[in-house]
Symmetry: C4
Subunit: 216 residues, 4 copies
């Protein structure tokens, strides 16, 4: 009866949370490593150094974007973990899959920073965002079905969690689609996409009380 092993494995919600905090903390810190200190050679004055710092701007933008993204999904995951009464081995593996997608963020971020004008880089970044959303949605649906959600979590919370994930995934999809429009007034379309994703993430982080938007 190998189910016996599967029954005893993966029960600890606390350790899923602890492992997740570790992976998020490392991913959040590693994305900074892509902002490389300029090379000493050729820099002689404060003006040169200032110019070199400005050339790092795309790296700072993608760092900011990915930190927001990681913060949003950290919040999303911990809201779920907080709502679960217990775990099982399937839930543990769903969250391991989620962490695998979290761990990919430094790569996606760096890939986007290096190729910021390329649609393939933006698509790869969007695939990562979509993976995070899909797995988090699956986690919630599975946990409800398997009876792992605490009894005091009502239908409103259930609906709020689902609506949140779906509406943001629609926004990401729309932003990614924009990159395939023709260039508008000389601005590369991937820049428009990135701008829209940043605005979406900022809306999630700051949660302004804008009548229509704050309903999602």
């Amino acid at each position: 009866m190998s189910t016996s092993y599967n029954e005893i494995a993966g029960r600890s919600l606390e350790r899923i949370g602890a492992l997740s905090d570790g992976v998020f903390a490392i991913a959040m810190t590693l994305i900074v490593l892509e902002i490389r200190v300029p090379d000493l050679a050729g820099i002689q004055t404060d003006g040169d150094l200032w110019a070199a710092l400005l050339r790092l701007a795309p790296r700072f933008v993608t760092y900011f974007l990915s930190f927001l993204t990681l913060g949003i999904f950290w919040n999303g995951q911990q809201t779920q973990l907080h709502s679960f009464g217990r775990a099982n081995r399937h839930l543990a593996w769903i969250h391991l899959a989620f962490l695998a997608a979290v761990a990919l963020m430094p790569f996606s971020t760096s890939f986007l920073a290096e190729f910021i004008g390329f649609r393939v880089a933006l698509l790869a970044y969007w695939v990562n965002l979509a993976l995070l959303g899909v797995i988090l949605y699956a986690s919630w649906v599975y946990a409800r079905r398997a009876g792992l959600v605490r009894d005091d979590i009502g239908h409103e919370v259930d609906a709020a969690i689902k609506r949140r994930i779906v509406s943001y995934q629609i926004a990401y999809l729309a932003a990614a689609a924009l990159a395939f429009l023709p260039s508008f007034g000389g601005v590369p379309p991937t820049y428009v996409s990135i701008g829209l994703v940043v605005l979406t993430q900022l809306n999630s982080a700051i949660a302004p009380r804008i009548p229509f938007i704050s309903r999602f």
Copy 2:
């Protein structure tokens, strides 16, 4: 009486768990760093970038493989820690040895990705898998003998944990042995080995209800 020191050291199960979560989280995130962003030079179109991304495929395969492996052994270790009532300094050192093998995974993964067609690289990866299994098995046997396992953990769980480790180690050994068969239809034998290990790990992660296989 220096035994006095050894008696007071290493008693905290929680800190063994916390250190382990940290090492696993870092190992899981570092294996992504081996997927290096392609060099900007020579990439001019989205087609070039897509081709460069495809050339990274072996890296994604070994990343996926090692994430599964780390997830399996994280589950295996936490199942044990969950079953222990208390720790002692010997158990702490057994788990430190286990973590030393976990920390080697990024090296083994990168080594395999770089030399995916070489038997030596596959053997090195297998040695790492075997080390993880042997130490985890030793941890359980030692903890039983030293009376560290909780009283409510019965013989069924004991048998399930042992059977699990042994049957998977046999599968890894068989997969590694396949690499020494002659090439079959032009497919390098190390690819067959890696495929078998991936299938074994997927079976562990997904735990499908296949009549015969799910008994292990």
Copy 3:
């Protein structure tokens, strides 16, 4: 009512603390990676190696400085977290912003070490210090206003926390301003600034009982 999502998200003080410990731990360890082992080529005797080690001195100084800085802000943040009775999603995001500034420290440190005689590098480091202080101050003010601070935390603690942040930020500002004075006796002005920041941080770490200074 998406406020429903925002109401349930970000309530766990423990997970904010755990994520923060992770980010601080990684930032503290990554700043060491900037102290690169000298190149084997050209080093033949112990004397050569000793000379190469001495040339790394600026890296050790900035490592020491940044470790002190991270320790100070880790203490500052955990003092606040210890004083909070509960969290909400806004507080979680304030602390995520704080962690984003913490995660930038390895970059700022490395940037300062590489360009230790440049005012731009010192300014960048100061901006990072200022960000950390401003966000930590905002965290406290917000938590007081939103009623998240424990009831047993009196006005004295409130005043102490604010005074601490403000007085240190004034010291950092003064130190940064010194870098814009003309060179004094051949010593580059940025060195004077760095020396003053190190002294400020040491005062915070060692907390000597100096009559006037220990009042802040």
Copy 4:
């Protein structure tokens, strides 16, 4: 009264433990990164790859040595933390200083691996070991004097903790001193030193019941 800030800061033993687990976990994992995967160029057969793997042997030795060292000091610190009833800001800073020395281990390890035949590299490694021991000793002495140690911790434990640190530091000092003897039978003296440190660490880890040695 800025003592007010110092009185409220740094009280949480749990967060010192959590930060320490994080720093140790990262240091343990980073030392592996110094074992670099051989370069693909020039490797054509399994024999070539095996030879390249063997050339990495010094890296594996220093990895093993540093993992043992980190394990020993992790145990030493957690034994102390386990014995404390509460913390204060001075104790927090002593442990931050300890962590600064822990975070230096990846540098010392890499420095020793790269310059394994040089006395300066061995001395640098020894300085790191000595720093760890001195700070851990200071932590215990300070905690006793400040009344932070739990009441149920008797004089035997006190004596055992002190004797442990002192006797190992004497062994490290003796091992480092050996490196300054003339070469013996063609074996570089630093190799003899490293061998002795490894044996000392193994004795600590395995804790064999050897009549004389196990008294320390």
